[in-house]
């Protein structure tokens, strides 16, 4: 009980070495860049693990927060590339109009970084406060957040002059003064993303072993009961939700320089669900599960989707079905399962492992 967190910490250490030291040495530029992209999804996934796995909030609209980070970053990089001109894609629709007002502050690097951190905190804070105080949960919460992602993606698609629309923002030349085409800078960007992933893992590691982690699980399993212990469950959930939103935003922000393009499709319904797929696959309530799962799904998409495009869709579909049906706690629960199977069968085990039962759906 008391030893396990330190083993996990060691795990994070090994993971960090593999990612930050080994990967840049052994991978080609292309695959390192892809790995960077998976890291971005993994960062978001770590947040989803916190909100959904531990907190029981099925966040189906993390694309919204991913978008806040991604578009903040993309607007800055677009302006950086455009210099003092209005970005090219805007010219056609209204050649004489100035830069939209909300773009202007994103010229500043400091403002951009601040926005990446503060926007998700504020938006998730307001949204979460409103939803949790009114006790919106379970399927309602899931569908609402998903609807929000759809709405935002549609909004971006339909405001082509202001946001680039469906085509998105791309063709960035610089990253805070660094030339993006330079391979050395690409490695630097990768290291930043990978480093942030490690930091996020450390954050949830501490959260999970803290009293807050226990309280969060308690809230997930019996929200009303927590109320009768003198806590406001809304606040507990809010903290987890905001942290997960922040992580999604950071993932989104790093996605932009790495992938070089951001479009509404990356933040809409399908993308938001794909983020969840990785988390479910790896193990929603575990420490490493969400990150590794997201990376695995990302890799699957790049490589299997390449050699076998039709098949990949079927594999992805089956992945959802098989994992959720047979392994609700994801691949990371496999070792524990084997171990438990070998232990004395007489020993009492917890009634059901971490499967958040959400009554609201039916009540």
């Amino acid at each position: 009980m008391t030893k396990k967190p330190w083993i996990s910490l060691g795990g994070i250490g090994v993971f960090a070495v593999l990612l930050l030291a080994v990967a840049p040495l052994v991978l080609s530029d292309h695959w390192l860049n892809n790995l960077g992209k998976y890291c971005c999804w993994a960062i978001a996934a770590v947040g989803i693990g916190l909100a959904w796995g531990r907190g029981g909030m099925l966040v189906m609209g993390q694309g919204v927060f991913f978008a806040l980070g991604a578009y903040s970053m993309a607007m800055h990089l677009t302006l950086e590339s455009a210099g003092d001109r209005v970005p090219g894609f805007m010219v056609l629709y209204d050649p004489l109009a100035p830069l939209p007002a909300f773009w202007e502050p994103f010229r500043g690097a400091g403002f951009t970084l601040l926005a990446i951190v503060l926007l998700p905190v504020v938006v998730a804070g307001i949204l979460g406060y409103a939803l949790f105080k009114r006790r919106v949960k379970g399927a309602y919460f899931a569908i609402l957040t998903q609807a929000l992602a759809v709405a935002l993606a549609t909004l971006i698609s339909s405001t082509i002059r202001e946001t680039g629309g469906d085509t998105g923002l791309s063709d960035f030349k610089y990253f805070f003064g660094f030339v993006l085409n330079d391979p050395a800078n690409k490695i630097m960007v990768f290291l930043i993303a990978a480093g942030l992933l490690v930091v996020c893992l450390l954050v949830v590691w501490q959260l999970y072993r803290s009293r807050f982690g226990e309280l969060l699980v308690a809230t997930r399993d019996a929200e009303e009961r927590v109320r009768f212990l003198g806590y406001d469950p809304a606040n507990v959930k809010l903290v987890a939700f905001v942290v997960s939103a922040l992580m999604a935003s950071i993932g989104g922000a790093m996605f932009v320089p790495i992938v070089g393009i951001i479009t509404p499709a990356e933040i809409g319904a399908a993308a938001s669900i794909l983020m969840i797929a990785g988390v479910a696959f790896g193990g929603r309530a575990s420490l490493f599960g969400p990150a590794l799962g997201a990376m695995a799904v990302g890799w699957g998409q790049s490589s299997l989707g390449s050699t076998w495009p039709d098949g990949w869709t079927y594999i992805l579909g089956l992945l959802f079905i098989v994992v959720i049906l047979f392994l609700p706690n994801g691949l990371s629960s496999l070792p524990a399962r084997f171990a438990a199977a070998r232990r004395r069968p007489e020993q009492k085990a917890a009634p059901s492992a971490a499967t958040p039962e959400l009554e609201e759906v039916r009540s």
Partner: protein, 296 residues
């Protein structure tokens, strides 16, 4: 402002609402009553549309084929629903939220299969001749096809509510949802109830698919555009509340239509979503709610 500008969106919106209602009706059973969040519901709708196409390949006179297609689509989609229930859903009643993710997988597979089986461009479903023409309402030429959608939705709602209310079946569904073990030990065959409910709910999606095939394209992607709005409608109406679903569907349809009239088609979608989200924010349990003593 011309009368048209006021009356046209109202009538168009009512038809849009009726289609939404058809899409949501099955969900109000499987989601509202059984607690299953079936993300493949849109693909069942698609199955209904493809069924209509296949029927038209056999019965080439579209005047006849659409009336025949309705029950066929119901059965086809219903059987797929039944298959889903028997193979997957039946193991998941104790963790309803997870059904959402499992059925996302199912929906991916069905979409991809449809893309590969049918021509990728989609297939044509022809409107019957008796739906050509318009009805003039207050100076606006209201397409008959829209009237048909509303009629179809009305018939389905009436049949469903009669079935739930005036047969013992409705009680059994509700009992099974509320407490599976207790229902079983009260002598109810919960397996039969589950299967029949899921069959019916999915079948209704098939019927919605026929209606949808008269409005838009019949292709592998068609279901995707209905799923989220349909869920929102069920949620906004109050889970398990048929009348709530009806009102919510109508309201969303009309709102969409007015928004589209005043702004753009894309912005209308955004505004309608925001409207529902804000509404649910104010009334998290939807229009109509059922109260029980919490924790008791």
């Amino acid at each position: 402002m011309h009368v048209d500008a006021l009356i046209a969106p109202l009538l168009n919106g009512s038809a849009q609402g009726a289609l939404l209602l058809l899409a949501a009706l099955g969900l109000s059973l499987t989601f509202g009553q059984m607690g299953v969040i079936n993300m493949a519901h849109g693909e069942f709708l698609m199955l209904g549309a493809f069924a209509a196409y296949l029927v038209q390949q056999v019965i080439t006179a579209s005047d006849l084929s659409i009336p025949v297609a309705l029950p066929v689509a119901f059965v086809v989609a219903g059987l797929f629903g039944l298959l889903l229930e028997v193979t997957i859903i039946q193991w998941m009643y104790r963790r309803p939220l997870d059904t959402l993710l499992v059925t996302v997988g199912v929906s991916l597979i069905l979409q991809q299969a449809a893309l590969q089986i049918f021509p990728s461009q989609g297939v044509p479903v022809e409107k019957p001749g008796w739906l050509d023409g318009q009805l003039t309402v207050l100076g606006y030429d209201w397409p008959l096809r829209q009237l048909f959608t509303i009629l179809l939705a009305t018939v389905c709602v009436a049949a469903l509510s009669a079935w739930l209310k005036h047969t013992s079946f409705g009680r059994r569904i509700r009992a099974t949802v509320h407490n599976r073990d207790l229902a079983e030990t009260s002598g109810i065959s919960t397996r039969t109830v589950d299967r029949l409910t899921f069959f019916t709910g999915s079948g209704l999606a098939g019927v919605a698919g026929v209606a949808a095939s008269l409005i838009g394209g019949t292709n592998s992607q068609m279901g995707a555009q209905y799923i989220i709005p349909a869920f929102l409608v069920v949620a906004a109406g109050g889970i398990g509340q048929l009348k709530g679903t009806i009102i919510a569907a109508w309201a969303v349809g009309v709102a969409l239509s007015y928004f589209a009239y005043w702004t753009t088609g894309s912005l209308a979608q955004v505004l309608a979503f925001i409207l529902v989200i804000v509404f649910l924010q104010l009334r998290p349990q939807g229009l109509f709610t059922v109260r029980t003593r919490s924790l008791a």
